[in-house]
Every structure is written in C-alpha cells, then in structure tokens.
C-alpha cells in the first residue's frame, strides 16, 4: 500500500513538468488571435482580443495564474467553445475509453491464442504464417487500415456503418483499426515469452510428471509468460492514445483524440492543456494498474 502511495506522490512532479512543457509549447507555436480573427481586423482589434483572452500578461504570470487555477480544478475556458475546457475533455473521455477498451479486448482475443499457437508450433508453417501476419499488422499505418476497413466492410459489403458512434457496430471498425497494431505487437511478445518459458526446467518437470500438454502450456507456462505481456499492455496505453488521435478522426469518433487535434489546430490552449493533462493521468494510472496486476500474477513480487 505504501508503495502505491509513494508512487502516486511521485507522479506530482511529472504532472507539473507536463503542464509546464505543454504550456510553453502551445504558446510558442502559434498565436490564437491570428487564427481566430478575421482578415480585415485592425491592429487595435487584435490587441483588444488579445487582452480579452488574457494573452498580454507576461508568460510567467500567465503560468502562475494557470497553475493556481488548476489546483482548484479550473483549466480555463475553451476559446472555441466558450465553455470550461476540463468539462469538454471529460465529456469526450467515455467515448475514447470505450474505443480503447474494445481495441484492447480485440487485441487480446486475437493475440493470446495466436501467440501461444505460434510458440508451441515453433518453426512450422503456421508459426511462419502468424509471424508474417504480425509483421504486416504492425507495419500498417492506422489511418490507412481504417480507410481500407471502411471501403471493404462498409462500402463494398455493407456490413458495418462507415463512421460515427452510438452502437457496438459503430465500434468494431475503429477498434479493429486501432487494435491491429497492438495485437500484432502482443502476438510477437507472447510468442517469444512463451518460447522462453517453455524451455525452462519447471516445464520439463511438469511434463515429466505426466501432465497433459494443455495443462503444461495453459497453466504453467502461460501464467509465467503473462508478466512481460502485462508490461507491454500497460506500455501500449500511450500507443493506444496516440492511435486514437488518428483513428477517431478517420471514423468521426467523438473522443478526446479528435477534440485534441482540433484544439491543436486552432491553438485552443485551455483544451490542449486539459486534454494532455487527462491523458497523462490515464497513462500514469495504467502503469500503476500494471504494477498491481504483477502482484496478482506472481505473488513473489513484493513492493517495499
């Protein structure tokens, strides 16, 4: 418990650093007033708008004000929507989480059997086929796969809706587009992890006891092979979030990714800051969860 408490405290400086980096980046890369105001605006009109948006203060003053507000849970107002930035992000979060979870489930359903099969049938034609597919799966860019899936399953076969959200059917194509790369990565990892475990002494012992091969593989070997898999799943959270940025745009999926891309394009500072903050928290939480799961998988692991 103490370990987790300490780890949570350790995330505070990370979060502060992230706010600082994002704060500086959104300010040095473009002027929101230039993006918002019309072509014939006079210098005076630009100055007045800049003042109204609080952009005339010194950067340090702006940052201190901003941090003061964050502590009170106020991330500022979106220039574009004129509403609270954090609420905007939190409103979109469920859609992104839904997409991420379904992708992860799909990736797991596909990668676990393929990874195990590939390991126990090592160097067979099947192994070669699975490894080949994994390489292709990993190499395909998200957006390209998304567009191809739409063309085949929606336009040609009329099986699934093209875009939007609301039903499970709407989730399938974006989840496949997002999950394919992760499934490929996980298949390769499960394969190599299983191969390593299958060569160890305790497996030989299990086999020599006369246990069925299925028990040896699924109980003894797979459980031990899971630890690195859990690590990679936790690490994939950031890949998943990176992927949602593109996948959500391709499928018009109203999640944090699409919101963030539009906010970056319009230099909607408050929304960019709030979205990155929430994403950072999501990554930290998933890493902490991975630590917890290690303990469940291997009781020998102790955190002191």
């Amino acid at each position: 418990m103490k370990y987790f408490f300490l780890n949570v405290i350790k995330t505070v400086p990370v979060l502060i650093l992230i706010t600082l980096i994002v704060f500086i980046l959104v300010r040095v890369t473009g002027d929101p007033v230039a993006l918002m105001i019309s072509e014939n605006a006079t210098e005076q009109e630009k100055a007045e708008l800049r003042e109204a948006l609080g952009l005339n203060d010194n950067l340090i003053v702006q940052y201190i004000n901003y941090m003061g507000s964050i502590i009170q849970g106020d991330f500022g107002e979106s220039f574009r929507y004129n509403t609270d930035a954090l609420t905007l992000v939190l409103d979109r979060l469920p859609a992104s989480i839904e997409l991420a979870i379904v992708s992860m489930i799909l990736a797991t359903i596909v990668s676990v059997p393929l990874g195990i099969l590939s390991a126990i049938k090592r160097n067979s034609l099947l192994d070669l086929f699975i490894t080949g597919i994994s390489v292709v799966g990993k190499a395909m860019p998200n957006f390209w796969l998304g567009i191809m899936l739409i063309l085949v399953f929606s336009v040609m076969l009329s099986l699934l809706p093209v875009s939007g959200s609301g039903t499970l059917a709407h989730t399938i194509l974006p989840a496949v587009a997002l999950g394919t790369g992760i499934a490929a990565e996980m298949t390769r990892l499960i394969r190599s992890s299983m191969l390593e475990i299958l060569g160890q002494d305790f497996i030989r012992t299990a086999r020599s006891k006369g246990l069925f091969e299925a028990v040896v593989v699924n109980v003894h070997a797979f459980r031990n092979a899971l630890i690195p898999v859990v690590t990679i799943m936790a690490l994939q959270t950031s890949t998943l979030i990176g992927g949602t940025l593109i996948t959500e745009t391709v499928f018009a999926w109203p999640g944090v990714g699409q919101l963030l891309i539009q906010a970056v394009n319009l230099r909607d500072m408050a929304v960019v800051q709030a979205a990155v903050f929430i994403i950072a928290i999501a990554v930290i939480v998933s890493n902490l969860l991975a630590d917890l799961i290690y303990r469940l998988l291997d009781p020998r692991i102790k955190y002191d």
């Binding site: 890369t29 473009g30 002027d31 007033v33 230039a34 993006l35 918002m36 105001i37 019309s38 072509e39 014939n40 605006a41 006079t42 009109e45 630009k46 007045e48 708008l49 109204a52 948006l53 574009r80 929507y81 004129n82 509403t83 905007l88 409103d91 979109r92 359903i109 957006f143 567009i147 739409i150 063309l151 399953f153 929606s154 336009v155 076969l157 009329s158 099986l159 699934l160 809706p161 093209v162 875009s163 939007g164 959200s165 039903t167 499970l168 059917a169 709407h170 399938i172 745009t249 391709v250 499928f251 018009a252 109203p254 699409q258 919101l259 539009q262 970056v264 394009n265 319009l266 230099r267």
Partner: protein
C-alpha cells in the same frame, strides 16, 4: 484470388461473431437511410467537414458554422444573388439620410421559445456585437452607433459614418436576431446550451464533434419547413465523408476533394454538384523595400509566368475560374472584365525580367499554407515550376496553417505569400480593404494615392452608381500595380444523393428548405 476471398469471408464471420446480436442491429442503424428511405423521407442528413464552432453568432467567423446557423436564425434582410436585398425579418427599410436607416419588422414572428420578435430584440442583438470588442465579429459591426427603438416593430439604425454597405452587414454572419428576454432571463450559458432563434428549424441536440440535430419549427413565420428533422454530421476525413455518401449514410457531403469526384460520379445513386464560391486564391507581394518584388516588372513577370488554366485543369479538375480580381461577380463592385481571364505570356515574362536587370534569373521567397485550401500545396508546386521556366527561382516554404497564421498576422513574410480570401459581405469594401494604406503597411506596403482616394471615398459613398465605378476603377489600377495577383476563384464541390434536389449557393450557405426530395 479465391484464397483471398476465403480469408475475407473468414474475417467477416469472425467480426460478426465478435459483435453478436448487436452487430446486426447496429448495421441496420448504420445504413438506416438505405432501408428507411420510404418511411422517413423527411429526415435530411448532411455531412460537413467540420462541426459548428459555437451558437454564439457574434463570436465566430466560420462559413461552415454560418451555413448551419442560417436554418435556426434569420437576418433582417437576405442578400439574394438574383434579386438583391429581399425582406427576411424586416418587411421594409429606407435609407433616410446618410447615417440613418429606418426598418419595419414583420409582425407575428415567433422565436422557438414562443416569444414574439420585437425591435428590442434587434437593438439587443446588433448593439451587443457593435460594442463588445472581444467578439470576433465586432470589426464588421462597430460602424453601428445605435439602434433606436421607435415602436415594437419599428427601429432606426444609426451609423457613425455614411455606411453604403449597411444592408450587406446585416445580411451575414452575426446578424441573426437573438431573443433578448430569453438571454437576459436565462443567461448566455443557457442560450449556448439551448439556442433559440426565429428560423425554420429549432435546436434539438448537439453532440460536439459528432452531430447537430435540428427539428422543424411549426410556428415558423415563413413557408412551412420541408423536413421534420435535419442532422448535420461532422466527418473531418474526406474519404470517410465520401464513403458515408456512397453508402447512403448522408444525403449531402460538403467539401469534396477533386480526387473523389470520379468515385461519386461512378456510383449509381450519387452525383457531384459544384458552384463558384467566394474564395479567391491569390499571391500577396511586397511592393517596396529591398525585395525583388518591389520592382513592378518582376511582379508583372510573376503574373505572366503562370498558366492559371493549366493549374485549374490538371490540379483542380476544372473546378475553378481564372481571375485577375478579388471582387468576383455576385459582389458589389465586381469588375467583370478582370474575371474569367488570364495574362499567360512566358516570353514577355522573360523580357520583363531582363528589363528589370534579372537576365540570369531572380530568387524570391514564397510562403504558402499546406493542407488549408483545396489542393493548395499541389497548386503552388506547379506554379513554382512555371516561375522557374521564365527564370524566377522561388524558394518555397510550406507551413501548416497554425504555423502560417502567426507570421501572416504579424506581416512577417518576405517577397510573396499564397493565401485564399473569402468575402462574407459580398461587397468590394471587404475585398479591397487590406490594400488601403493603413492595412497594407508592413505587408504589401502598397501605396497608390489614386487607389487610396478611390477606396476611401467608396467606403462612405452613398451613391450606388459612382461607388460601383470607384471600385471598378480601383480594381483596374490594382491589377496593373499588382500588390496582389489574384489567381483563381475556387468552386465549392458537393456530393449529392440522387434522392434530393440541391443547388449550391455562392455564399456556401446550406438553406435546408431549398433542398427538396425528388
């Protein structure tokens, strides 16, 4: 090939199994327009490339947002491309003296919440945007000094200066009349969540970045609204938007890239419609200082080197019109002699460069946004090659829009930059204002006293005929001085399901009631 088919079938079966019963249900919903065309013909679905920005009609300058708003709010007058200004909320109007405009409102106009429209609502709406400098549309309304309420249905707009383009101002973004009582009682936050206007369609639901749903307003003061429900979907990815159109997910797809035209035309149920838009692509050039473009001969050579028609044919699939002016037909002040024409003459361009002392070629810096406008990068790359042919070596810098907008706003570009300008006022003043001395300073640094006089006189000239002459003359001189080189007016391209009739507007507004079922 057979093997591929089996694999495909296997994946389909797997997917179907994964999604269980919900899949079928969802698949039906996803293609609902296919199956329910007969039953729910009154629902119209439009796929936009962006979601609307806000319901604050004064705090955006976004054409695609306004294209949606026009169905929820009404202007005082409507600027019709054929008939000129026609009544909308105002029944009649009169320009009584240079700074005074009397208006009479239609009686019995209802807001969506049941309130009746009065002159107080007009005063509330126009004075807000005319006085609050933090609003994005302030610049187009600050000319209004006061809205004086005479009676419930009569009011007078007073302007600081003579304002010939007043009707243009009150028939565009920011002029939808807002419900004073509703906003003052409930507050702006409630209004922005549940906007209320006088238009034929009322607000139902907004899922940001996904879908806006409007429903028919039964008490609308005009003709009965044609559709029971209208859905505006935000589908940013072009190919996804086209796929939605092809599968019947949407009836109308806005902003179709030329590359996808064939895909739409080759489908049995869909077709492509296009019309000129208000957007003109142009080069903006430095006319003074140490820049090569300060020499008028170099500027002329740039124009003569570019074969606009070739770019339109090869890059834009014919969906643009070459122009030498920014004030295109349909706008007050348009000089039609400078429209649909080009001066391509590479031989003369080479001679001009020689005369200017650049016989061995000249280097210029060219900045351009990338991914902002229809085929911007491809068009510029082709123009760079054309310039190279005559001896102008353009060092081109492509910038993503948000990176482009800061040096643009700060007037930091060097010799030439590429940009597209719109004109939501449909008036020469908006198109040429940036060439007036004060605005041009630091950018083109254009300084021609004759043009300056013509433009500043036209700005406040209440005599339509002489104002028209002033703008036309100014464009003629500008086309010879070349502080800007207009290139082409791009068309807006739409994908249309054959079940509906749709005519694109020059303004790019999507008046839902002008769209009918075949």
């Amino acid at each position: 090939m057979k093997f591929f088919r089996y694999i495909l079938l296997l994946i389909v079966l797997l997917l179907a199994a994964c999604s269980g019963g919900n899949d079928e249900e969802g698949a039906e919903e996803g293609t609902s327009n296919d199956s329910s065309d007969g039953a729910s013909d009154e629902v119209l679905t439009i796929g936009n490339s962006n979601d609307i920005v806000s319901f604050d009609i004064h705090d955006h300058n976004n054409t695609s947002t306004e294209a949606v708003h026009v169905n929820m709010f009404n202007y005082l007058v409507k600027n019709d491309p054929d008939e000129g200004f026609i009544p909308d909320l105002a029944e009649s109007w009169e320009n009584v003296d240079e700074t005074k405009w009397e208006f009479k409102l239609k009686e019995g106009v209802k807001f969506h919440n049941g309130d009746e429209l009065t002159a107080e609502d007009v005063k509330f709406t126009l004075e807000r945007v005319a006085n609050d400098s933090a609003l994005l549309e302030y610049g187009a309304y600050r000319q209004i000094e006061e809205v004086e309420v005479v009676s419930d249905y009569e009011f007078v707009i007073h302007t600081y200066e003579p304002e010939p383009a007043l009707l243009n101002r009150v028939s565009r973004i920011g002029s939808g009349i807002l419900p004073k009582n509703y906003i003052e009682t409930e507050g702006w936050d409630v209004f922005l969540e549940n906007p209320v206007g006088t238009g034929p369609y009322q607000f139902e639901e907004w899922q940001k970045d996904s879908q806006l749903t409007l429903t028919r307003f039964d008490d609308y003061f005009g003709d009965e609204p044609k559709w029971s429900q209208v859905e505006f979907r935000a589908i940013p990815e072009n190919s996804t938007r086209v796929s939605e159109l092809l599968t019947g997910g949407i009836d109308l797809a806005v902003n179709i890239p030329p590359d996808d035209i064939e895909r739409i035309e080759s489908s049995e149920d869909t077709t492509v419609m296009s019309a000129p838009s208000q957007r003109v692509m142009l080069f903006v050039l430095r006319t003074q200082g140490d820049y090569p473009t300060a020499d008028p001969k170099v500027r002329e050579a740039i124009e003569l080197a570019i074969d606009k028609e070739a770019i339109i044919e090869s890059v834009l699939e014919g969906h643009a019109v070459p122009t030498r002016t920014r004030v295109t037909p349909g706008n007050f002040g348009a000089n039609e002699e400078l429209y649909d024409t080009q001066l391509y003459d590479p031989e003369r361009a080479r001679e001009l460069l020689e005369e200017a002392g650049y016989a061995d070629g000249v280097n210029i810096k060219l900045s351009s946004p990338s991914g902002r406008y229809l085929k911007d990068r491809e068009s510029v790359e082709l123009m760079v090659a054309m310039l190279q042919e005559v001896g102008i070596n353009a060092d081109v810098e492509f910038l993503e829009w948000s990176a482009f907008s800061t040096p643009y706003s700060n007037k930091e570009f060097e010799d030439v930059f590429f940009i597209a300008y719109g004109n939501s006022m449909f008036d020469g003043s908006q198109a040429l204002q940036r060439l007036e001395l004060e605005m041009a300073a630091g950018e083109t640094d254009y300084d021609n006293p004759e043009v300056e006089e013509l433009l500043s006189e036209a700005m406040n000239n209440m005599d339509e005929d002489s104002r028209l002459e002033q703008y036309q003359k100014a464009q003629e001189i500008i086309s010879e001085d070349r502080p800007i080189i207009p290139l082409f007016q791009v068309e807006s391209i739409y994908g249309v399901n054959d079940r509906i009739n749709f005519e694109p507007e020059l303004s790019e507004m999507l008046y839902v009631d002008d769209i009918t079922i075949k």
